[in-house]
């Protein structure tokens, strides 16, 4: 099987869907001639033409709104945000227009908004944000974040085929760092299904995105100390896989919630509530969060390093919890 980077896997997934379904088209800034700031859409203009790979003005709100309009009349637009940080500029169209149409009057709104998010590359406060929770808290959307190349392809394809607006977070730190065997065949990874990224028994860490790798690194470290940590990769944040989360918590009885996003109001809270309500009896220890602190993402490497969760911090928290 060919080995692809996370980025190439996304490209291949979009490419295949463009080939498969003529109603799929791309909208975004610098995605055509330039192939996108990170080159995710490289080659697509040449292959699919300017009709289907549309370079837009710098108008995030109109881009999202236009995607909604096109989706309403039967297209499947895929929007690129040059950085997910700028999704804030198209926010209203996402939460008020796209998310609510189906509920309000029925039509499907099949569209994807995708782009790079996350820190670790010294991008500073505006090229590093994790802002998935705004959308996890918006009924009517789906929110997806792959951690592997295999999933990246399977999830982008599933997202494009989905009949709802999907916010698809690509972690820029993984773009070229993560490689995987990725089948050339047509497969999807279903939305709403988590996966166990690593089996364990003593405690489980529920996470997603780049932090899956951090968790695995910590688990590998902990294994040497005789602590067996399971790693659950949510893959889809909305709707998230309650069953998989609860199953892992029931199995391990101790749970660590990990994300790169800031703490207050983060995904860990949502999971804590689920677990506190539905797996309370199964818990043998406190529900522990490992997250970024409540600050903007700082720029300078020492600051960013302090800000980001890493394997050391995860292992420390896990050791304490395991010993509880």
């Amino acid at each position: 099987m060919p080995v692809l980077t996370y980025l190439e896997a996304i490209r291949q997934g979009i490419w295949e869907e463009m080939e498969r379904d003529d109603s799929v088209f791309l909208l975004g800034e610098d995605i055509g001639v330039y192939g996108g700031a990170f080159k995710v859409t490289a080659g697509m203009l040449e292959k699919f033409g300017a009709d289907r790979v549309i370079d837009t003005p710098i108008s995030e709100s109109a881009i999202v709104g236009a995607a909604v309009g096109a989706a309403l009349v039967g297209m499947r637009p895929v929007v690129e945000m040059q950085f997910m940080d700028f999704i804030a500029c198209g926010f209203d169209q996402i939460v008020n227009m796209a998310a609510k149409i189906h509920y309000r009057w029925g039509p499907a709104v099949p569209m994807v908004i995708r782009g790079p998010s996350g820190a670790g590359v010294h991008g500073g406060p505006y090229h590093s944000q994790s802002n998935e929770m705004w959308f996890v808290h918006t009924p009517g959307l789906k929110v997806v974040m792959p951690s592997t190349a295999y999933d990246a392809k399977g999830l982008i394809k599933a997202s494009i085929r989905d009949d709802n607006p999907v916010i698809f977070y690509e972690h820029k730190f993984l773009y070229r760092r993560i490689k995987d065997e990725v089948p050339e065949t047509d497969y999807v990874v279903p939305l709403g299904k988590a996966r166990v990224a690593r089996e364990g028994t003593d405690l489980t860490v529920i996470t997603y995105g780049a932090m899956v790798w951090t968790a695995i690194e910590a688990a590998t470290e902990l294994e040497k100390e005789g602590i067996s940590m399971e790693v659950v990769d949510l893959r889809t944040l909305l709707p998230y896989d309650e069953e998989a989360v609860l199953a892992s918590v029931r199995k391990c009885s101790k749970v660590l919630l990990l994300h790169e996003d800031t703490r207050t109001g983060g995904m860990a809270g949502e999971l804590a509530a689920l677990i506190g309500e539905k797996a309370f009896q199964d818990l043998d220890g406190p529900i522990v969060r490992v997250t970024a602190p409540d600050t903007p993402v700082p720029f300078a490497p020492p600051l960013e390093e302090y800000f980001l969760p890493n394997a050391k911090k995860v292992a420390e928290a896990a050791r304490k919890l395991a010993a509880y």
Partner: protein
């Protein structure tokens, strides 16, 4: 039937052509105008006061000519995104009065199933995409519809309506610029009714004519008398034909007046009395009636008959709405996501609507397009 010749309404401007509208279309316009006025009056002055309307009431009193003069020209495959006061667009696109009325009463058998209010009514079959409250949000959506139509090589157009106050929103700018640079078949129809809630247009922008905004994006801009249904018709006709030829969008400012408060609870005390009195004389409906009477397209008897017909239709719609069921509370949690159980795919009562739609489009095909 005699033909009625449109006056060239914007002398010296780009509106040079003359165009004939047949009597049937003229009568239909009058019908739509009067029906809109009467239905909204019933809603605001009777049903709302009786406590039968759920939520707030916004009407288009005084600016009905804009929706009528534009929607009447649409072919079946064209799209419209009405403003929050564009009752007539819904009606002319084929929504039944019954459904519209039922939605004002938050009933279950409407396109929103009671989930959304006022004129937030959409129907893909009728090619109407409803406004949402955040003003200006429909303009980018109109661009997206137009992109799709253009890509398919369909010679279809998209009309989008909005108020002068809405022009201050960033989305309006982004959409107009995008439509221009991509040469999309969109007609931007701005109703300048003098006020945005309590805010006069003079505090909204500094320009006298909003139509200067057109050229700022490289598109044609017109300012027309929005209380003259034929002036609106003529401007929109040019814009539609321009768009159908692939020549891109047009911006049309229709000067009009909001002959009511912002909503039923607003007495509009901030509007100077002289302005109210002056504008009362400029009511688009008597104006058009006089035109049609004067040119003998209709008689006084015709008008009386029409009024009776309208009253009957409204009575019927009100009775229908009042006897319609409220939605079941538990349905509130259905259909947030579109999936296997997608509520949209379940049949709802659309028969009437389809019928109305078919009729409307048949009638429309009578007009030159």
């Amino acid at each position: 039937m005699r033909r009625f010749t449109l006056r060239p309404l914007n002398r010296g401007a780009a509106l040079k052509g003359r165009h004939k509208v047949d009597d049937a279309a003229l009568v239909k316009m009058l019908y739509a105008l009067k029906l809109t006025r009467e239905a909204e009056s019933r809603i605001e002055n009777v049903l709302y006061r009786q406590g039968k309307i759920v939520g707030g009431v916004y009407t288009g009193r005084g600016q009905e000519a804009i929706g009528v003069g534009s929607a009447i020209q649409l072919a079946e495959g064209d799209w419209v995104l009405p403003s929050h006061r564009d009752f007539s667009s819904f009606f002319l696109r084929g929504f039944s009065l019954r459904q519209i009325m039922a939605n004002w009463m938050a009933r279950a058998n409407t396109p929103t199933r009671g989930r959304d209010n006022t004129l937030h009514l959409g129907d893909l079959n009728l090619r109407v995409i409803p406004i949402i409250s955040p003003l200006g949000d429909t303009l980018p959506v109109a661009c997206g519809v137009a992109m799709a139509l253009k890509r398919r090589g369909q010679r279809r157009v998209v009309l989008v309506h909005f108020g002068e106050g809405t022009t201050s929103r960033g989305d309006v700018h982004e959409a107009m610029n995008m439509a221009a640079v991509m040469q999309l078949p969109v007609v931007f129809i701005c109703n300048n009714n003098g006020y945005a809630y309590s805010t006069p247009a003079t505090q909204q922008f500094l320009v006298n004519k909003l139509s200067v905004r057109g050229p700022a994006y490289g598109m044609v801009g017109f300012t027309v008398d929005g209380n003259d249904v034929l002036a609106v018709y003529e401007a929109v006709r040019h814009a539609i034909s321009h768009a159908r030829k692939g020549l891109g969008p047009t911006f049309i400012e229709c000067k009009t007046f909001r002959m009511a408060g912002h909503s039923a609870h607003d007495a509009a005390e901030y509007v100077p009395r002289e302005v109210l009195e002056r504008e009362a004389k400029n009511d688009p409906i008597p104006r058009f009636e006089l035109t049609l009477l004067g040119s003998r397209v209709v008689t006084h008897q015709d008008l009386q008959d029409l009024e009776q017909k309208i009253r009957d239709e409204i009575d019927d719609a009100v009775a229908y709405a009042e006897s319609s069921p409220e939605p079941e509370g538990s349905t509130a949690v259905e259909g947030v996501l579109c999936g296997a159980d997608c509520w949209w795919k379940k049949p709802i009562d659309r028969d009437e609507q389809r019928l109305a739609s078919a009729t409307a489009s048949r009638e429309l095909h009578g007009t030159d397009d």
